[in-house]
Every structure is written in C-alpha cells, then in structure tokens.
C-alpha cells in the first residue's frame, strides 16, 4: 500500500514547482497557472491526509478550494483582460509602472 509520506512528498514537490514558476515566469497568465498548480498540490495533500485520517473534512475543504479557485480565476482573468485593453501586453516586466 502506498504510504502517506509519498503522497505528501509529491504534494510538496508540486507546490514547490508552482512556487518556482511564479517567480521565474514573465507571462501573467502562466504565473496564475502556476498558482493554480500550487492550489492543486494543496488539494492533493488534503485528500491524502483525509484518506489516512479516515475523516471527510478534507474532501469538503477541497470542494471549497475548487469553488474559490474558480471564482479567483474568473476575477483574475478579468483583471488581465481589463489591463490588456489599456496596454496590449501580458508580460509582467513591462507592467511594472510605479517604482519599487
């Protein structure tokens, strides 16, 4: 049987890949995809914990995380589109207008 640790390590790996992606990518869309990947990694960790704790709180929580991810995707992409209307770029470098 597959132990809990292997699932947690897989979850941690995906989470870190997502976090690396957020910092290295220059395209706003792909950055948000990496954040979705991080949320998926958290879902995997939660389902693994829920399975090995044998209680269903984890599943309901993943259900809620999916709702929030969908709502955030809707809002985030609308922001990217309203920004694209002002300046036809999605590259994060040329978006940094105000100084640090």
């Amino acid at each position: 049987m597959v132990s809990l640790n292997s699932y947690l390590i897989l979850g941690a790996m995906l989470f870190s890949i997502g976090a690396v992606g957020v910092f290295t990518q220059r395209n706003a869309l792909i950055i948000y995809m990496c954040i979705e990947l991080m949320l998926n990694a958290v879902n995997l960790t939660l389902v693994a914990f829920s399975r090995f704790l044998n209680n269903l709180d984890g599943h309901v929580f993943v259900f809620m995380i999916m709702t929030v991810a969908a709502a955030e995707a809707a809002v985030g992409l609308s922001i990217i589109i309203s920004l694209f209307r002002n300046k036809p770029t999605v590259n994060v470098d040329d978006i940094n207008l105000s100084k640090g």
């Binding site: 957020v22 706003a28 960790t45 809002v75 922001i79 309203s82 209307r85 002002n86 105000s98």
Partner: protein
C-alpha cells in the same frame, strides 16, 4: 428519514444576512436601474451598514455579560472580541461609503457594483472576525480579498489602477496558496480544522509534530501578507497608490484589522501551546515592520505612498501589542485598531477631496499653502497627521501609549524602545505635510485655484465623525478602555 440538524442559530449571523440582502438589493437596483438611481446606491448601502451596526450592538446586555455564542457546529463564534471587530469594520465601511459618493460622481463611474463589492468585502471581514473554524476563515478571507482585487482595479481607464489590481491579485493568490498549505498541514497533524479542537488536541497530546510547526509558519506567511508585515509588504505601496483614493482608505483600515483579528484568533485560541515557536518570529517581524515602514516613508513624495508605508509602520506597532499577548496586549490591539481606522480614513478623506478628477494632485507639494486657501481641510488634515504621529491630545498617542506600556509590562523592553524611536522618526514625515500646508507658498497661484477641493456634504460628515473619533479616543479614553477590556476576556 433521519433529519440531521446542525446547530442553526440564525440570530448569530443577522448582521451578515442583512449586509447580503442589501448588496443583493443594490445589484437588483443596478439591474433594473433608471438614470435617477445613480445617487441612491450610496445611501442604500449606508442604510445597510447602519442596520448591520444596529444588530451588532443590539443586545448590550450580552456584550457586558460576555456571552459567547457558538453555532453552526462550532464554526461561528460570536463573542465580544468578534463584536468589537465588527464595530471597527462597519465603521470603516460606513466612512468609506461617505467618502466615495462624491469621488465616483467626479470619476463618472457611479455604478451599483462599487457599493455591492464594498459590502461583500465587509461581509468577508465579518466572517473572518467570527470564524471559529479554518475553512470558514479561509472563505471569509477569500471573499474579502476577491472584492478588494476588483475594487483596486475599479477605475479601469487608469493603467496604474489595472496594474495595482494585477499585482495585488497575483501576490494575494500566492499568499492564499501558502495559507491553504498551512491549514492542510495543521489539519493533517491534528485531524480537525476547528480552532478550538486544534487547541485541545495540541494542548492534550502535547503534539510537537514538525508538520504543525511548518503549518504555523505558513500561516504566519499568509497573515503577514494580508496585514502587509515587512517581509511580505512589497505589494502595499503600488496597490495603495494605484487604487482609487476611497478604496485605499478602505484597504488600509478594514482588511488590515480583519487580518489581525484572524491572526490573533488562530494563534491565541488555536495554537497557544506553540507560544515558544512564534514569539521570536513575530518579534523580528514587528521590529522590521516598524523600522522599514518609517524609514522608507521618509523619502516618499507621493502622499498616498507615504501613507502606505505609514500603514505598514502602524501594522508594526499593532504587532508589538500582539506579541505582548497578555490581557493588556490584546485590548491595546483592539484599541489601536479602532483609533487607526478613524485617523487613517479621516486623512484619506481629505486626500480624496483634494486629489481631483483622475487623482493628479497626490503629491506633498500639491498641499503647499493649503492652510490659507482652505483652512478647514488643513486643520482636519493636521489633526489626523498629529494623531498618526502620536502627538498627545489625539487618540494615536493613547493607542501607542497603551501598546508600549503593555510591551514593557510583558518584558519586551527592546521592542518598546524601537517603537518609541520609530514614532519619533515618523513625526518628521507627518509634520512635513503640515509644514507644507502652512509654511510654504503654493508654487503657482493659478494652479492653486484649480486645486479647489470638492467638499460634498457626505465627505464633510465623514471628516467630522473621524475627527470626533480621534479626539474622543484621545481625550476621554476611559469609556473605550472599559469596552476594550471586556472584549479581551472573551479570548481566554
């Protein structure tokens, strides 16, 4: 057909239900709107906020009796702590609505969605304040953040506003990823997501699993981001500058207080056994937040960016009180957040009035000679700046006094000293604006005429309320302190 009734206690969530109904009403008004409706959205949302306020303070008896009501399977806690925070949120929202009515008229963006989203953000904050369970807390935080992402980018014709919204969105959802991973690890280690059950299982088993500590560290990262504490404050200046002025006021008061409310509840009630772990971490963050907030604020010429860095510094002061977690500590957090709401929103009310259409005049040099052209605005602005700096007669001073006395009592002398030094430093950049208003001549008289501030009746009311709040908190703090003392006990 067995009927499972979770402990439904509707009376516990009356304020939230009322706000939801009012925002739905505004959306329906917007859907079937005639041009006449443009002015009514603001007033309808104000009535909604007042109604919710009425329900929060409906039974003063339960306030003084410190009745703690647990409902919805231990997910919803209505105790004095939550009631006091709901007062702060509703106050902040009410003042923001008063400020934004005129602002929207000038920007020609008078849509119902603006007020509906403000009400949604307030509902999110209230859920965060009285969430007894990590999932409800997460949903409240997301509802608040979602509405704020949109509100930050509301004036979508301005590129700065879009960019602020995008930066806030990306960093916000990145922090949400960490929050969720933290909650997942805590759930994994203790087997439950309810804050009280987590405290019980951590306390009873003396569970010292590294998973719990890692989860706690992740939560510190997430709350650090939402309250804009130093290592995670990168987004604050750009977003505060890009967002419309009333929304910046709203963002600096409400959500910051909500982040602290959730932060305190999770760490004080949920993870007291791990006290040793998070004290040194927060000590460093408090010191860094205060110093960096004040130091960078010195060199800012854009007044919105300056107030952004000053709000980071104030978060540092609150963190000091948060660290001195005794009875005095938490009540000084509550006291300080109330004063902070008054003075910060008051200052932004003046900035909104002065900034004009498209917010061109947000630089310190635009305030030169204001003392002579518009004495009322200048006096009000100086009052708020004195309070922010912590000069005696104002509420800011009393707040800082409580915080530092609590810190000293708990033995964090070093932190108290850093705090005092910082507030001295902060006096300089606050008074720089007052000096500009009174001592310096406006660069060109013609441009000064064009800069006539637009004072609508609602804005004036907001300024008076904030001024009254700042002065009453400063001059007769005893009544407030009594209330705040009651609110603290609930956390024990």
């Amino acid at each position: 057909m067995e009927q499972v009734m979770s402990t439904i206690n509707l009376s516990a969530i009356y304020p939230e239900i009322i706000l939801t109904c009012f925002s739905l009403l505004i959306l329906l008004m917007q859907s079937f709107s005639t041009p006449r409706f443009k002015e009514y959205y603001g007033y309808v949302s104000l009535v909604g906020v007042l109604a919710a306020l009425a329900f929060v303070v409906m039974e003063p008896s339960s306030f003084f009796a410190q009745t703690v009501v647990y409902s919805f399977n231990d997910m919803w806690v209505v105790d004095n702590y939550a009631r006091f925070f709901k007062l702060i949120f509703l106050l902040g929202t009410g003042l923001t609505i008063l400020i934004s009515m005129k602002y929207l008229e000038d920007e020609a963006m008078q849509y119902g969605e603006y007020f509906a989203l403000i009400l949604f953000a307030t509902i999110g904050m209230m859920i965060m304040a009285s969430a007894g369970e990590l999932i409800t807390l997460f949903l409240g935080l997301e509802l608040m953040s979602l509405s704020l992402y949109v509100l930050a980018g509301y004036t979508r014709v301005r590129m700065v506003s879009n960019e602020a919204a995008l930066k806030y969105f990306i960093l916000g959802s990145f922090a949400t990823g960490f929050l969720l991973y933290g909650i997942a690890l805590i759930y994994g280690s203790t087997g439950t997501t309810s804050i009280r059950a987590v405290a019980a299982s951590v306390g009873k088993y003396g569970l010292y699993s590294p998973g719990l500590v890692m989860g706690m560290a992740m939560l510190v990262v997430a709350f650090g981001f939402k309250a804009a504490l130093v290592p995670f404050h990168m987004w604050t200046p750009d977003v505060y500058e890009g967002a419309p002025a009333p929304i910046t006021a709203f963002m600096s008061a409400g959500p910051k207080a909500a982040a602290f409310a959730a932060f305190a509840r999770v760490f004080m009630e949920g993870l007291p056994a791990l006290q040793m772990e998070w004290t040194w971490l927060i000590w460093i963050m408090a010191a860094l937040t205060m110093t960096i907030g004040n130091v960078i604020a010195l060199v800012q010429d854009n007044i919105k960016r300056m107030l952004a860095y000053s709000s980071i510094a104030h978060a540092g002061y609150v963190l000091v009180a948060f660290l001195a977690a005794g009875e005095l500590g938490i009540s000084s957090v509550l006291y300080y957040l109330l004063t902070y709401t008054f003075m910060n929103i008051g200052a932004f009310a003046i900035i909104t009035a002065l900034s004009g259409r498209g917010e061109p005049r947000v630089f310190v040099r635009d305030y030169q000679g204001l003392g002579f052209q518009h004495p009322f605005a200048a006096v009000a602005m100086s009052l708020f700046l004195f309070s922010l700096a912590g000069i005696p007669p104002t509420g800011g001073f009393m707040g800082k006094f409580y915080i530092f006395s609590a810190a000293v009592k708990e033995g964090y002398i070093g932190l108290a000293v850093i705090g005092v030094v910082n507030s001295v430093v902060s006096v300089y950049y606050y008074l720089r604006v007052t000096v500009a208003m009174y001592m310096e001549e406006p660069s060109s008289v013609r441009e000064a005429e064009a800069a006539a501030p637009i004072f609508s009746p609602a804005l004036v009311i907001a300024i008076f309320i904030s001024a009254y709040g700042v002065l009453s908190l400063g001059l007769f703090p005893s009544s407030y302190v009594a209330i705040v003392k009651q609110s603290f006990l609930a956390l024990q």
